[in-house]
């Protein structure tokens, strides 16, 4: 690990101004991802700006839904009575992630910003375009090791089947973000040029030719909070995470389902998948298909088929072409079960 400067800030304003002075500065939240990346020299910051003292950990009810502060710990969000009552899908997704110890440290903002778990990204002896982008002018700390995509033609069991590029087939690893994507959350950020709100679906991005960019946050911007609009999904939510062991493993495929049911009919529905793309993958076509339909296995199968449009395997991850639709069906069955 290189030597770096360390600054602690107590206001969002100070955080934003601190990060904007000089390159190679990173916010430090729970540190559960950033510190690992520093130890592996995947990221080599010159300066850490510790934002743990920012007053951004509140979870509150607003006129339009829930607002969750960026510094709220993953465990605190999962345990929040408000969250459990109004957006249980978020609790389920959070509890499916990492381990209790990690969730106690991890924050909402950090979880959104966590980097991919692709092994080639983590190993500076192996090629990775995300870690070592070809373009000049990228972050100084991101030019470690050979370029290329090691995962294409390599060990890619965990990798994307949607929206990947010839430069990168990594997936975004977060569980929490699948729930937030499904629930139409918005992200409130504050930056050198002021505040703005980003729809969750636009927050993360596909790799294209610039896989070094995971999201659309601009330099110097700080995530302040996440808003989740009021919904009618609380009674029929399910987060299915298929993984290699029962806990403490990233998703092979995960599915977040939130349904508004009237008897057997699906009034409204939200569907998102994890472990399949560089961003949380919303299943808009499947949602449209299911709206107004009855909750039958035949309909679920049809929806799952629609959801798989454009899917492409890369060898070891071909099984996801089966696992993904099956998981959609399984999750829909569970979510639409009437108590």
């Amino acid at each position: 690990m290189n030597q770096f400067q360390y600054t602690r800030v107590t206001t969002p304003k100070a955080a934003v101004s601190a990060i904007s002075t000089g390159n190679g500065s990173y916010f430090l939240a729970g540190g559960t991802n950033l510190i690992d990346l520093m130890k592996r020299e995947v990221v080599v910051p010159e300066r850490l700006i510790d934002i743990n003292k920012l007053p951004l950990a509140t979870i509150e009810k607003t006129a339009t839904g829930l607002r969750i502060g960026a510094m709220a710990k993953n465990s605190a969000v999962a345990e929040s009575e408000l969250v459990k009552k109004y957006v249980p899908l978020l609790t389920m997704a959070l509890n499916a992630g990492a381990s209790a110890q990690l969730r106690n440290m991890a924050t909402v903002g950090g979880n959104m910003m966590q980097r991919t778990r692709c092994a080639y990204f983590y190993d500076t002896a192996m090629p990775c375009n995300k870690r070592s982008p070809v373009q000049a002018g990228a972050d100084k700390g991101q030019t470690n090791g050979p370029v290329g995509c090691g995962a294409i033609g390599g060990i890619n069991r965990m990798h994307a089947i949607f929206g990947a590029s010839t430069k990168c087939i990594a997936v975004h690893p977060s569980d929490m973000c699948i729930a937030l994507a499904a629930l139409d959350a918005t992200v409130n950020v504050s930056g050198p040029k002021g505040d703005r709100t980003i729809p969750f679906g636009d927050f993360h991005r596909l790799p294209g030719d610039t896989p070094q960019k995971d999201n659309t946050l601009l330099p110097g911007e700080l995530i302040m909070s996440v808003d989740i609009p009021t919904n009618k999904f609380a009674d029929h939510s399910h987060y299915l995470k298929v993984r290699d062991r029962a806990s403490y493993a990233f998703a092979l495929v995960s599915v977040g389902v939130a349904v508004d049911m009237k008897r057997d009919t699906i009034q409204d529905i939200r569907l998102a998948m994890g472990g399949v793309a560089h961003k949380p993958w919303r299943l808009i076509e499947a949602e449209q298909f299911l709206r107004g339909k009855s909750a039958t296995e035949a309909n679920f199968k049809q929806a799952a088929m629609l959801a798989m449009n454009g899917a492409k395997g890369y060898g070891e991850n071909d099984f996801k072409l089966t696992l993904a639709p099956n998981s959609i069906i399984d999750a829909l069955k569970t979510a639409t079960k009437t108590a």
Partner: protein, 746 residues
Amino acid sequence: MTKDTKNPPIDRVDGRLKVTGGANYFADFELPNMAYCVLVGSEVGRGTITSLDTKKAQGAPGVLGVFTHQNMPPIPGWDAPVGGEADGPAPKPKREETYRILSSPKILFDGQPIAIVVADSFERATYAASLVKATYNKQAARTELEKHLSEGVAPKGADGGNYLRGKADAYQSAPVRLEANYTIPIEVHNPMELHGILAHWTASDKLMIYAKTQGVNATQQAMAQAFKLDPKNIHVHTEFMGGGFGMGLRTWPQETAVVAVARKIGRPLKLVVTRSQMFTLVGHRPYTVQTINMGADTNGKLVGLAHAATAETASYEDFTEATVNMTKFMYDCPNVSTRYRIVRLDRSVPIWMRGPGEATGAFALESAMDEMAHKLNLDPIEFRLRNYTETDPEHNRPYSSKNLKEAYQRGADAIGWSNRKNEPGSQREGDWLIGYGMSTGVFSAFRWEASARALLKADSSLTIQSAVTDIGPGTGTALTIIAHNVLGVPLNQIKVEYGDTSLPKAPTQGGSAIVSAVGSAVFDACTAVKKQLTELAIKEGGSLAGRQADELIIADGVLSVEKEPRKKVALSELMRANNLTVIDKSADSKGGSEQSKYSMYSFSVHFVQVRVNPLTGVVRVSKAVSVADSGRIVSPKTAASQMIGGVAGGIGMALTEEASIDHRFGRFVNNNLGDYHVAVHADVPAIETIMIDKPDPIINPMGAKGMGEIALIGFAGAVANAVFNATGQRVRDLPITPDKLLRKLT
């Protein structure tokens, strides 16, 4: 002889130390003026270092030295072959490679140390290590066993890797036949405690070592050879070990290198390897490909059996294990052949891992038994019973004891085997398929040479000493119980000292042999103490004068006449009366001629119930029952813990554990505990352990056989068999991950 009674389930004697931080593991030791070192690993799997830049590292804060093949201090004993070779020197290596750490620019495996960076703190050494930069003349690393199966060589040994009883191809003419291939991936021991060593030259020819070794005497011997020292001048201490599972069964080259560098810098030097180095520097269970050919008649009687295994080893050292052995003697079959080969790859050398060889072989054999039972439409237990053997068909001699039939029965009752349906895929609970599976495990019951000392003090407290390391199974607890049984000293007045070369010599802890070996020595030493006590009591003028030795019993610190309990004398009183402050007896113990008259094995049977999600291919072990037939159980509580630990490891082996290599680079992609999946709590159901607990009349005075290995051996097969029962799909490549099962289910 001790009375033939079951032993008390006492708590682990060192439990409190362990949970309060009072137990010192090698890395806990801090010495004045101690320095720290970090290993820099090669980033290529085969090739030659063309340049090595250590300037920056040398100039980094706190750095005391950077050692590479260019300036490594010599290791005097390394002109001769290095100690610890798994099975003796190779017969005729096809490729003449030797691996002498930091002696040449040649790279033989990914992660091979190319520099040792020494600094005044671990953090500074770590930072400086990151500044060492190498360039390589890279060659393609041959790391994929499947691509090199034809290059298998026969290992050294009496049978040259081949065994034959009857006709080799008898299975071919049997009415019911099975041919199947089974694969197990690289598994890494991954105990919680990282490997390493702390070396301290206390004089120019005197060495103190704190190490992570399963045998302090073996480490002493290896270092004596490497540094041409009198073993007496080398003191090795390993009282506690945070899990070994086999990785500490030899002295690794980097340990020797640390000792050499410590001498050079003139300071105590500590190495703790990183988690990713645990994948390349301290061995692993070798990737192994197996083929079973089996033939049976329509009555379910085995006609012929052939088992072939090919495993990876390093280019520079042959590692072999007993992968195909179980097939030779497990079942009554007139025609059996086995074949074992190793392939030398550009990989670091494997080492035994819990249930070494047999765990790999049992997966294949016991899966095949299940497959054949299915073909015969027989219950898998019934099929095994039809081929049950009361004598060892390999050596044509009796077993010292075998209660496997009882084990089948009790395990079957406990899991609810009668709920199993022979028709696969026929049981459901909601959306989940339910299946039951079972498998047998077996491992040699050894009795190696060992020494121990017993010191009974006048306050009637007892100290037991032996150099043996306790790697966690509860050795101290078992030895306490054995001493208690012989001498009747209350359990809380017995102290066991172990894990240090200043104590009587003991074998390396491994092979499930310690209770048998060291336990026998303790038994003998305590028996000698008892003999002296008895003689003192019955001699003329003694408190029990005129009595015969065999009339007396010893319990609760009192020697008494069995039939007249009021005729008695306290041990402390007896010693005082004879002006003795201590009775000090040592014993060297080993087996005798019975070793060649009997076949000695511990047996286990594992039963599992699994739930399989047919849509996602997810498998969950929902019930597990493991039965041990390993003689008299000396320490019931720690023995049960052993079984539970074995099952947890078995679930990992069956469902989750695999170290994956990207063969294009010859490099691991999941060399950390986040991505290498050992089973976690959520994967492990409540485990029922059953001990047959019948003494073996032959093996040793306690009647105890080992049980560390059988806890794991066979378990993976039971899971694979249960998955088949649940789904009708057979996965022959471990681990059974959702992707593999899904490919078959859809």
